[in-house]
């Protein structure tokens, strides 16, 4: 599926890291940046100075990623931090998220834009409840590639047997979760073994180092490639003599491919029209694919506004007021069944009422809890809602853009929850 000579693989890789405070997650990222020479001298100076101030004896690379004062003082990661580095092969965006159970929501946030999840496991402790939790969240958010880093191999005498035991256990888990592309690497983030440079201590491991793996892992651009969807963000009307009749529908293609000449249907009006041109800054494009921000012009003068969607005539999204979805609750105030929230899906907003809770997910055992169905902060649950007007959507696994939504509290304006449509 090579599109117009563009490579079919992504040159920008977004990944999220999950692991508990003690798993060495920040150390891994610090090590990655340090060994790939992406830490600059002034940042290094900072780490050394902070480390001294905090009384750390060895160079503490986690101080690089923990950006807030409270994080450095307490030695914990509170919020998602984004890190950037590049190698000749690829550019990387890391969403570094805290791993504690009370930060499930941060992990969900980091995972929502990730192509790949890196999950750390302490070789001394093996597969824990939190490993289940991290893996489950990755699969819930439809991340299709996972790397399990079995860390702290230095503390288990570089034992291949221990590594193999953990790997076998993980293989069972990923089958259960249905994750397709999974990789395993034994590492020592602290000493840099198998992070950027190959480890001599782990000579029994013949696979790629961590950096080599993320540089070469094939991440197809095929997510959301099937269903042509174009949510209208805003209307461009120049009102100038040169472009007197120009009317462009601005938006980012949420799925599939659009080309001039394509017949499209506008939702919710169901009116049909034809694409006359696709423009970006005076350049007319021969096509626009998922992810591209463009302006589309149509053959007919139609009343279209923000929140409407252009779709192909033969592949409609679901149009309904009743939606079943998985949610992750973000706010201190628990979800109210029967409560009304403002829902944002793409560029569309609608009121929605929580009708019922089907089950609450026990993310430590991966069992569905049908009895205790109160949904509080960091909980993941399956619920059904009814919206005040029909909305159009796809299931999340089919299209991550048209299948995701957030819930907003109208009183406080806070984002209360994230939802993935089933």
């Amino acid at each position: 599926m090579k599109i117009n000579g563009k490579s079919k693989f992504k040159s920008l890789l977004r990944f999220t890291t999950a692991g508990s405070v003690d798993d060495g997650k920040s150390t891994l990222i610090g090590r990655l940046l340090y060994d790939s020479k992406s830490i600059f001298e002034d940042q290094m100076e900072h780490i050394v100075q902070s480390g001294k101030r905090l009384g750390r004896e060895e160079l503490d690379l986690s101080l690089l990623t923990d950006g807030l004062r409270a994080e450095r003082e307490q030695g914990i990661t509170i919020d998602v931090a984004y890190r950037y580095f590049a190698t000749p092969e690829r550019k990387f965006i890391i969403a570094d998220t805290p791993g504690h159970i009370q930060y499930t929501r941060n992990m969900v946030t980091g995972a929502s834009t990730a192509d790949l999840a890196v999950i750390l496991i302490d070789a001394r402790k093996g597969v824990l409840e939190q490993t289940l939790r991290h893996s489950y969240i990755a699969s819930l958010l439809d991340i299709r590639h996972i790397i399990f880093c079995i860390n702290k191999m230095d503390m288990v005498d570089w034992s291949e047997a221990i590594y193999s035991g953990i790997k076998t256990e993980l293989e069972q888990l990923v089958i259960k979760l249905g994750i397709s592309d999974v990789h395993y690497i034994p590492i020592s983030a602290k000493y840099g073994d198998n992070v950027v440079d190959r480890s001599l201590n782990l000579d029994w491991y013949t696979g790629k180092t961590f950096l080599r793996l993320i540089e070469t892992i094939d991440i197809l651009k095929d997510k959301n490639s099937q269903t042509p969807r174009f949510p209208v963000q805003t209307i461009i009307r120049p009102h100038t003599s040169e472009f007197h009749d120009y009317r462009g529908y601005a938006g980012r293609v949420a799925g599939g491919v659009f080309r001039p000449g394509d017949e499209v249907t506008i939702l919710p009006s169901m009116i049909k029209s034809k694409i006359t041109s696709i423009d970006v800054l005076g350049k007319t494009l021969s096509e626009a694919i998922a992810g591209e921000s463009v302006a589309i012009s149509l053959a007919d003068q139609i009343d279209i506004s923000r929140g409407d969607m252009l779709v192909s005539n033969d592949d409609f999204p679901v149009i309904s007021q009743d939606i079943e979805l998985m949610i992750c609750w973000f706010n201190e105030r628990p979800m109210r069944t029967g409560g009304k929230y403002l829902i944002r899906i793409n560029s569309k907003e609608a009121y929605g009422v929580i009708k019922s809770v089907k089950f609450r997910m026990n993310i430590d055992t991966l069992e569905e809890d049908l009895i205790n169905t109160s949904v509080c902060i960091n909980d993941i649950a399956c619920i059904s809602i009814r919206t005040a007007k029909p909305i159009f959507f796809d299931c999340y696994k089919k299209n991550n853009v048209t299948g995701s939504m957030i819930f907003i509290d109208e009183g406080t304006n806070e984002t209360m929850a994230a939802g993935m449509i089933l």
């Binding site: 600059f40 900072h46 950006g67 807030l68 919020d79 009102h239 921000s293 984002t415």
Partner: protein, 304 residues
């Protein structure tokens, strides 16, 4: 690190698509909107991205410049020309006015800077102009507190940022809802690095102030940073002014913007210089060196 030059720039397209999307969300979700314009490369790139987002219509935002009075002169004429060329309204607010009105007092001493005072002028401008959003060129790779910043960053009625209680931001769903008196700062190029910005400037033929290219200038050295000399700057006894070939990596208030010794005359030369450099661009920013959490503290107060 010169191998970085070979990195393909396909990822720039994805970053551009993301930034244009964010800028259009601002247009759709807010009423009174400005782009915070400093004259620096990041805000110039923002203006170009905004043009791309709304072409062939004009940019639906004004440009707001908070003028410390301690500028590199070249940036002011560049600013005026850019606003004229793009047909956007330019609003300038002066830190000197805030000082004259007694809202903020001038820092004293050798390291005196109006960098912090800018926040007062900025918040007053936001209040006076009834802005509900200000778009900024901040990037997460600049500084560790910025790495925690959202695309849509909420500010309370005092203009303050609460880093520990930020709204979660998932997928491409931005929640810009707010109460009266509150506002948002939006950072469309959050995910860009310094190198991305330069590569984009080259690809898009974006014109920059000459300060970014090598030029002869009077400078002096302070705590390992070269600062441009200006008549109103106080020197310590051991500091000597001398001439050198330099260029700016960032452009801000002259009192705290470091310059780098460089002979780079063209964009390719600058890009190879940056790819090979071992100090971050904010490493030359004197304002960040004041304390470990200098940026975090200023951002909490309402800084850019």
């Amino acid at each position: 690190m010169d191998t970085l030059l070979r990195i393909n720039d396909e990822h720039l397209k994805e970053l551009e698509d993301e930034a244009v999307y964010v800028i259009r969300e601002v247009a759709a979700q807010f009423e009174n909107k400005v782009i915070l314009f400093s004259g620096g490369k990041d805000s110039i790139v923002l203006v170009y991205l905004a043009r791309k987002a709304f072409w062939p219509a004009k940019i639906p935002f004004s440009l707001l410049h908070i003028d410390t009075g301690h500028n590199f002169e070249e940036t002011l004429s560049f600013r005026d020309n850019l606003a004229r060329e793009f047909g956007t309204e330019l609003i300038v607010k002066y830190v000197q006015d805030s000082i004259n009105e007694g809202k903020v007092s001038e820092e004293k001493g050798i390291n005196a800077s109006r960098n912090k005072a800018q926040t007062v002028t900025l918040l007053d401008a936001i209040d006076e102009l009834k802005l509900d959003v200000a778009i900024g060129g901040g990037r997460r790779d600049e500084e560790k507190a910025r790495a925690k910043e959202r695309f849509f960053s909420h500010r309370n009625e005092f203009g303050q940022w609460d880093p520990k209680n930020q709204r979660p931001e998932l997928w491409n769903l931005f929640n810009g809802r707010k109460h009266m008196g509150e506002h948002f700062r939006v950072f469309p190029i959050s995910n860009w690095t310094e190198l991305d910005v330069w590569q984009y400037i080259q690809n898009e033929n974006i014109t920059l102030p000459d300060l970014y290219f090598t030029h002869r200038r009077k400078i002096f050295s302070r705590n390992g940073t070269y600062l441009a000399w200006a008549p109103f700057m106080q020197l310590k006894p051991d500091e000597k002014v001398f001439e050198a070939d330099v260029r700016c990596r960032t452009i801000g208030d002259i009192t705290c913007t470091g310059v780098t010794l460089s002979k780079a005359q063209s964009l390719p030369e600058i890009i190879s210089e940056i790819a090979a450099t071992r100090v971050t661009e904010r490493g030359g920013r004197y304002d960040d060196k004041r304390s470990e959490a200098a940026m975090e503290d200023r951002k909490k107060e309402g800084y850019f």
